[in-house]
Assembly symmetry: C2
Homo-oligomer: 503 residues x 2
């Protein structure tokens, strides 16, 4: 019954545009095509944004499915010969899938030796609470001053959709009937819920997702004036540390000063996580850290970073962290240990003179290449065991296997190709950024064994995950333009099954 919604306003490969069959698209042809199709693109995006695909809300499961169906129909209309909706989370025939569906599409290159590229994005969106802080309904998209306001406009529907416009521009400008690479798309439906079924989905369809490079379109640029490419995301592992001492809280008058106090031991253990230079003092923690290259540091230093403004955003009156690194380096390329919470003994009003029987902390570790969460977990366990005085015992419980860090090799052919594609679209040098946290990206690279390249045009000011999310339409068109160039750039430098990650 939602078939009507799936009627596309922008449909099929345009019959009127091919000019030079198979040629490398010219910058001006691509730009002209995209400018001409702005209206169609915006209309399609608004239609998709009207579907409230909130994966975290079980009541929206039907909407998430409708969102997948809209995208599938749009991809078919774009010309993808293969378009499939993949259930997740153990769906059986005839039953409602327990996970939200992903959309898969494939368009083989004409040349059987062409490389294969997988594009990743997601079609689910964040919840909209508090909805009263929005200037209008989050699922009634409004365009104003060149921006579309709606939940998902930037994260991530807008950034998924620029790919179809880019591909059509590529085909129109080259006159080819198929893309210069075999193009695969995987657009998941649970990213904003922590991608609980995504790893299984990747493993199930590993063969069909095989590729030479993964293009991720779900990040941000430095600013509209400073186009940039994300080249890494920190990994994560987090744990709870429980220190146990006497069987029960003890009266400090009778026992204080003569039995080990778990709160003292925990405080010492947490204080010992960092040395006086702000480095993580867990022995072995830096063993596998790949020092960021001087080339990347130089590019990071080129970014027009306003630390005072950043501190205002943080609500902090000072920056602090590992000695020898800038604030951006600290959040992007350096690993951390962070106490997220702690508790022990008496936490209510007034005094209570006890030796508490136990003390607890939540600690998370941000990881950078090539730190492995499993090894860091082992090091943390060793550290805690070695930090305990006699009479206390501790358990360390990790929340799960952790998230591996990921990074692109900035000297690789794939990154250079993507950077060139963006430079052609933006007409200016493209810098590098990283992100301090991460989603499922590292798992894609791990399971598929392919390097990651990030191509995205979101901005901090898009307010993703917040009220009044919006997106700059001109930047989405620049994203489409970049994507239009990217396939030929990649085809020129990649050999299938091979050296995408090498320079």
């Amino acid at each position: 019954m939602e078939a009507a919604r799936c009627t596309q306003t922008s449909a099929g490969p345009p019959p009127d545009e091919p000019t030079r069959r198979g040629a490398i698209p010219l910058t001006e042809d691509v730009r002209a095509y995209i400018e001409r199709h702005r209206g169609e693109f915006v209309a399609g995006l608004k239609e998709w944004l009207a579907v409230p695909s909130i994966s975290a809300d079980p009541a929206r499961a039907d909407d998430v499915r409708r969102s997948a169906e809209w995208l599938a129909a749009h991809l078919t209309a774009t010309g993808f010969p293969t378009v499939e909706i993949w259930p997740t989370g153990g769906a059986s025939p005839g039953a409602q899938a327990s996970g939200a569906p992903a959309v898969f599409a494939e368009w083989p290159a004409a040349d059987p030796d062409a490389p294969t590229v997988l594009v990743y994005g997601h079609h689910d969106v964040q919840p909209v609470d508090p909805v009263e802080l929005w200037d209008g309904d989050p699922f009634t998209p409004v365009e104003r001053d060149g921006r579309i306001r709606a939940r998902g406009a930037s994260d991530d529907k807008g950034q998924v959709l620029f790919h179809t416009l880019g591909l059509r521009a590529n085909l129109a400008a080259s006159g080819a009937a198929a893309p210069p690479v075999t193009l695969r798309l995987l657009v998941e439906g649970e990213e904003e819920s922590g991608s609980p079924n995504f790893g299984a989905l990747l493993r199930t369809h590993r063969d069909r997702l095989a590729c030479d490079v993964v293009v991720i379109s779900d990040t941000t640029m430095w600013s509209a004036d400073t186009p940039s490419m994300c080249v890494g995301m920190r990994g994560l592992t987090d744990c709870q540390i429980d220190v146990h001492g006497p069987e029960a809280d003890l009266h400090s008058g009778s026992f204080g000063g003569a039995v080990p106090n778990p709160a003292h031991a925990l405080a010492a253990l947490l204080a010992g996580l960092h040395d006086s230079d702000g480095r993580v003092a867990v022995p072995g923690f830096y063993d596998d850290v790949v020092e960021v290259s001087s080339a990347e540091r130089a590019l990071i230093a080129k970014l027009p970073f306003d630390e005072a403004a950043w501190l205002r955003t943080a609500g902090s009156t000072a920056a602090a962290g590992e000695a020898g690194y800038s604030t951006l380096e600290r959040v992007w390329v350096r690993p951390t240990a962070e106490v997220n919470g702690m508790w022990s003994g008496h936490t209510g009003a007034g005094p209570k003179t006890i030796v508490p029987r136990s003390a607890h902390a939540k600690v998370s570790f941000r990881l950078v290449p090539d730190q492995e969460p499993a090894r860091v977990q082992a090091l943390v366990r060793e550290y805690v065991a070695g930090a305990l005085p006699p009479g206390l015992r501790a358990t360390v419980t990790f929340a799960g296997p952790g998230v591996r860090p990921c990074a692109s090799d900035i000297g690789s052919a794939a990154v250079r190709a993507a950077r060139d594609a963006m430079r052609r679209a933006f007409g200016t040098e493209v810098l590098f950024t990283r992100e301090g946290g991460s989603g499922p990206e590292a798992e894609i690279a791990d399971v598929l064994g392919a390097p990651l390249v990030f191509l995205a045009v979101g901005l901090d000011e898009d307010r993703i995950h917040a009220p009044n999310e919006s997106v700059d339409v001109a930047l989405l068109l620049k994203g489409a333009e970049s994507a239009a160039h990217l396939w030929n750039e990649l085809a020129a430098v990649l050999r299938p099954g091979g050296a995408a990650g090498s320079p």
Copy 2:
């Protein structure tokens, strides 16, 4: 209507006993008198114990008043020429006092140059919950196997009442009509509620309470086989430390490792409270600490301390504390810093990757002579201020002015006199102990400017503050015997207004 309860079974100075008017009582005479009056003593104590004088329970206010009236009648019957019930907490004529009443009594010595002694105790008792853990009604005293079980039997009615038996024995054995010292008694009614009005009471009646020495009867001995005298109690001051960082919790992916984390700073600050030798590392903390004498250390070492049994009581598998001191020294004669509680950030289930905006701790300090709570508070404030990195701010809030430590000079004439009195009663060497915590004792010494001597016969096994509190009647009689000898011992060594505290 409670007059019937106040009829005393033991009444008046016995007419049949004076033998040698004004002589020093002989050990055997005192003992024989006390043995003969055991039945009367026990009957009187049981009568008093039947009054449920729980000061912490507002519903028992009338019972606390009845308890004061019982004691006043008993003191009058003992022969005290002056007996008064003192309201506390701003009572006005005709109105119900808001605090629980104290009982004051005075019996002047015949010799106007005799010294004055003030005996301190309390007539209120602890609550009885959980009452179902008692073997019978807490206020229906039962004597079995030489012990009386009832709330208050040991803490403190039994130990107050042995004084009247002791005084009668003294007078009977000496044949005197008045005690050899001017004897004042102050028995408060709010000790188990933290003595909220006691300081004001002391100040109001400072002149009538003036004395050369204060005898405290509200502590314990090492064991029935090892009579001992408490010679000190640790003081206390406690605070809450609040460390504030960013305005709100921050996402650790975006900000972790680049802004100061209040939980890290608090952990470092708490860890820094102790050095690697377990000493308190707050600068200046030990400046005013009087090192315990080698004589007292030698006597402490004589106590038959079973550390394994003590650890079982503590429910701890190891002892720990300041290097160079034994467990008993650590809890009795050394000051401490103890984290009683702490909390910060996320304390619920699962991970939450934040930089918390604040971190908090409750910290208490046990103090020994001559540490002043006010000075320790200032040192702690300085320490916290100096331990904070830029970008964080902290407040330190003390719960109140704190409790000063107190101690008896073990070389003083008063302590020697009391020890001699106990040795005569017990027939063996009397050792020294201290207590790790304290009540209103230090304030008595401070306000009245008199040294403290502790004369008490409670035991750990009396289970004060717990279900089935009981007391060993034979020890109460030894307490009476000690008290009977104490007044002549003190009269022999004390000069009024003078050198009670000096050897």
